[in-house]
Amino acid sequence: MERRGPGPVPVRMTVNGVTYELTVPPRRTLLDALREDLGLTGAKRVCDEGTCGACTVSLDGQAVYSCLVLAVECEGRTVETVEGLIRDGELHPVQEAFIEHDAAQCGFCTPGQIMALKALLDQNPRASLEDIRQTVAGNLCRCGAYPKIIAAGLTAAGVVAARAAAKAPEDGGAGA
């Protein structure tokens, strides 16, 4: 690859299923590109240096702090933010569980919490309580909603596991 920048350069990335071509300087973080250039303000900027988790998004299926990713690095990659979780008006089980358990107080850390848990459940539909605790440990919450975030994580894990179990025989049948 060529040297790019320091001025604005074009970057193509797919965000929540839509491919965008942005023009950003290399110093622009993925977080700022999402918030400022794409108007996707779900991910929040709290610390801007990997110490809070509020900016968590999924990059090619992995939870990352978008404040510690440069937008230019995302050339050709797939990003998912909290705004992309609704499918046909239906919330993701993690979102549903957050509502049910009152896992959002002020709500500022919430999109990051949800994206971290969602990435966990995508990778491991049978996540345990300990997996959930370790995941939430990567997202601070100043309001102290932790007990309810963990409870929501467990509820969502139950839903995801049940769906995976319900789907498994079907898939197996189709494959055979």
């Binding site: 303000t41 909290v82 107080q105 500022f108 605790r133 102290g144």
Partner: protein, 829 residues
């Protein structure tokens, strides 16, 4: 006829007098046995969906066409004189529109200190502001401003600042005796003379930084002569008032909006200097301006819970009855600020005829302080409840028994009975849930402990006011041998139980107003100028309106957080929102209901007194066939809204309204590594009627967790050489993670406070943070046998305490070997 009355309102532990317009009788509170179907239900938040989908718009998320971005240049020095400033470099940065400094800032009616001062009294003081087309350009430009500072001597250490020859923040000195808050009840000298036992102790607590997740910030936009401000604030009407004053505008030309806020915890109660700066820059450029603080600025310049040095002394008779309390407090307020009521618990919590508290503000070259969730009471409870445990040890009494012995049925400073006080019940429930009796049977702590030794403590710190009687050399710490430990613990771990009590206001009061609009489709809009700061206000107010109107909560929408959405609402602070705005909403809903019933009466040809409104229908009591669905009734009126008005009535005059509670902590201390692990917290609080148990439990857990941070890890660190803050970030300022949270069991003492207001409800926002640190410290005392006096309980402090413990044990062993009899009666080992 409306009539003007004076009433007493308590906010953040301080009493204020308010005038209130009273028009007719307030509603009586729903009686205790009334079955309520919306109020009291654990409903999810009405705005939860917006929060989990990322559509909730916080101030940070506001984007307006043509919006510019501003940043503030702040003093790198704790104390300096601004000699010269050159902004030409900044103006040359592409995209920069303007730079504001003390040299060109326009005259304003702003009541605060100068926006840009030439004497800078803390690191983080405003020096200049840049506005540019984007944040990056504004930030780049900050580096291009050249400033010449003349550094001045500074003081950042609380203990150093009280010394007479310390560098001065202001020429007048750092401690102002004039502004000290001194309270005296009875005669403490006499009280101590009457005491059989006297204990005394010094305590230190660290400055706690709010670290609201959403940093302070505003977006300001001018439309002709009108100013609209999106602000991350706890008080939209307060900001409106100050901005109108600052810019000389009629109040109706200022609109302040705050729909969602990422935490405030007390730090967002005032009008920000950044808000005024953003509004100025927006006026100057003719474009909307967004000014958000970054994390460092947040931690340098937006407030903190002041650090304290406290000396406390208790006198009691041998049966435990308190005869005197003396509590002296030095609070590091920063460059300016207030001393929160650290002496509050000492004045109020226990029955005691002779009490003296002294609270001194100590100025430091650090950012100004601000309220932080139960300001003062968190710090003061650490000292009072720590000393109470000392007293319990000295008397060989159970800590709860001692507290019950001194139970106060009246608010002594005001000489009024409490409207309701469930503290006794909280002790009982909490003790049972925690298994407090295990303290005795399994030997957590023998009732009477052997006092191994007394060690000299730190010197006292009293430049004026009463000298603590211990004299130079200071207070002696008791070192006790803890009892046998539970068998399931390895020998290098010690377990301890501790508890502490909570008293706080939270009764709210006027003024607070609301409007309830019943739409033609019988949906309801509640409009009030309060705000939801993440506590669940929208939800709770919807429940109150739904209850009064007997409609589903889903049919209610609450408009708030906007000075143009509804009538005046107070600041969201002091745990007063539910108890202030809730009753106003109920009154407004009742007013709407009355009108609906009157309209139905004419339609149904019935008498108003015969009609009831129930489950969405108005009908004649006893003959449901003579009724009309609410929806039908409102539809008949055409496109018309029935509008009810309500306001919060005056506070009762013959009782004092307070919240109470008790928390219990179980800890394990690792003697080898100094790790303190809190394994369980039991929190029992009495806040009257609970409108929503789900959001209440969130408040309790959140308060406990912030309290754990204060107890264990949160501490502002300052470099003594440069006077700059080392921990202005979330790496070095350590708030609890999910893995730091123990099991938290919580219970609300059942029952409504019928005298408090028409809901019977009191606040729950602040009480849960109050006793946590004290309970944890007392549990560590129980585990180690040595009282922790300095919070937070980080490794250096705990390991130092363990070292002293070991030294004491060695001293005793050495004594025993040399054949001397040691360590009196009752000690188990």
């Amino acid at each position: 006829m409306p009539e003007l009355r004076k009433t007493v309102v308590e906010i953040e532990g301080r009493l204020h007098e308010e005038y209130v317009v009273v028009d007719g009788e307030d509603l009586p509170a729903w009686p205790e046995d009334r079955v309520l179907s919306r109020v009291g239900q654990p409903l999810p938040r009405v705005d939860a969906r917006a929060k989990v989908t990322g559509t909730a718009r916080f101030t940070h998320d506001i984007q307006l066409p043509g919006m510019l971005h501003a940043r503030i240049l702040r003093s790198p020095h704790p104390h300096a004189r601004l000699r010269r400033i050159d902004v030409s470099g900044a103006l040359a940065v592409p995209g920069v529109l303007a730079v504001l400094t003390h040299e060109n800032v326009p005259e304003l009616g702003w009541p605060g200190r100068p926006l840009f001062d030439t004497v800078l009294r803390y690191q983080g003081a405003e020096v200049a502001a840049v506005v540019a087309v984007d944040e990056a350009a504004a930030t780049d430009a900050l580096d291009k401003i050249s400033v010449e500072y003349e550094p001045l001597p500074f003081v950042v250490d609380l203990e150093a600042a009280v010394e007479p020859d310390a560098p001065r923040v202001y020429p007048e000195g750092n401690v102002s005796a004039d502004e000290a808050s001194v309270y005296v009840r009875g005669d403490t000298d006499q009280g101590f003379a009457e005491a059989d036992v006297v204990v005394e102790a010094n305590f230190r607590t660290a400055a706690q930084l709010h670290n609201c997740f959403e940093t302070h910030g505003s977006v300001c936009s001018w439309d002709g002569g009108r100013l609209t401000v999106w602000d991350s604030t706890q008080h939209v009407f307060g900001v409106r008032k100050t901005l109108a004053q600052a810019f000389g505008l009629p109040m109706h030309d200022v609109r302040v909006i705050k729909q969602f806020m990422g935490g405030g915890f007390g730090s967002k109660g005032g009008t920000g200097r950044y808000t005024v700066i953003a509004a100025l820059l927006a006026r100057q450029t003719g474009r909307p301006v967004k000014l958000l603080l970054d994390r460092r600025e947040e931690n340098l310049a937006t407030g903190h819970r002041h650090n304290t040095l406290q000396y406390i002394k208790l006198g009691a008779r041998s049966d435990g009855t308190l005869t005197a309390i003396y509590h002296q407090v030095f609070a590091g307020v920063g460059a300016w600020g207030w001393v929160a009521p650290v002496g509050g618990p000492a004045r109020e919590l226990y029955r005691c005829p002779n009490v003296k508290t002294e609270e001194y503000a100590v100025c430091l070259n650090l950012g100004p302080d601000s309220a932080f969730r139960a300001p003062g009471y968190v710090e003061g409870t650490v000292a009072l409840e720590g000393a109470m445990d000392d007293l319990a040890v000295a008397l060989g009494m159970d800590p709860i028994e001692l507290r019950l012995r001194n139970y106060a049925d009246t608010n002594q400073p005001r000489n009024l009975p409490y409207s309701g006080k469930g503290l006794r019940e909280a002790y009982r429930i909490g003790a049972e849930l925690m298994g407090w009796h295990l303290r005795e049977t399994t030997g957590y702590l023998p009732r009477k402990r052997t006092i191994l030794a007394t060690l000299g403590g730190g010197g006292n710190h009293s430049p004026e006011g009463e000298q603590p009687p211990a004299g130079p050399g200071g207070v002696e710490d008791l070192v006790c041998w803890p009892g046998t430990q539970p068998e399931d613990l390895p020998p290098h771990r010690r377990r301890g139980l501790g508890m502490a009590s909570q008293i706080w206001g939270g009764g709210g009061g006027p003024p607070a107003h609301a409007e309830v609009r019943v739409n033609p489709d019988a949906t309801v809009t509640v409009a009030t100028g309060t705000q939801d700061i993440g506590t669940g206000t929208r939800t709770v107010l919807a429940q109150v309106a739904a209850e009064e109107l007997s409609i589903p909560v889903e049919h209610v929408r609450v408009l708030l957080g906007d000075t143009e959405a509804g009538p005046y609402g107070p600041i969201s602070a002091g745990s007063l929102t539910v108890a202030s705005v809730g009753p106003a909403v109920r009154a407004a809903a009742a007013d709407a209901r009355r009108q609906l019933v009157e309209l139905a009466a004419s339609l149904l040809d019935a008498k108003v007194e015969e009609l009831i409104l129930k489950d969405g229908r108005v009908e004649v009591a006893g003959s449901p066939e003579r009724g009309i669905a609410l929806r039908e009734l409102t539809a008949r009126l055409g496109n018309f809204m029935v509008t009810g008005h309500g306001s919060r009535g005056p506070n009762p005059e013959d009782v004092a309204v307070h919240t109470f509670g008790a928390q219990f902590a179980e800890v394990e201390v690792d003697l080898e590594t100094g790790a303190v692990e809190v394994t369980r917290i039991v929190a029992v609080h009495d806040s009257g009627r609970i409108i929503n148990p789900l959001t209440t439990s969130s408040q309790v857990e959140g308060g406990v967790i912030q309290g754990l941070g204060f107890a264990l890890s949160e501490e502002r660190a300052v470099d003594p050489q440069t006077g700059r803050v080392l921990s202005a970030d979330l790496e070095n300022y350590r708030i609890p993670t999910a893995l730091d949270v123990p099991i938290i069991d919580h219970v609300m003492v059942p029952g409504a406070d019928l005298a408090a207001n028409n809901l019977g409800a009191k606040g729950v926002g602040e009480p849960p943070i109050i006793p946590t640190a004290a309970a944890v410290a007392n549990a560590v005392y129980d585990a180690l046998g040595i009282r922790p006096t300095d919070l937070p309980l980080t490794r250096p402090r705990v390991l130092a305490a363990i070292k002293r413990l070991e030294e004491a044990a060695q001293a005793v062993e050495a004594g025993a070997e040399s054949g001397k009899e040691q360590a009196g009666e009752g000690g188990t080992r």
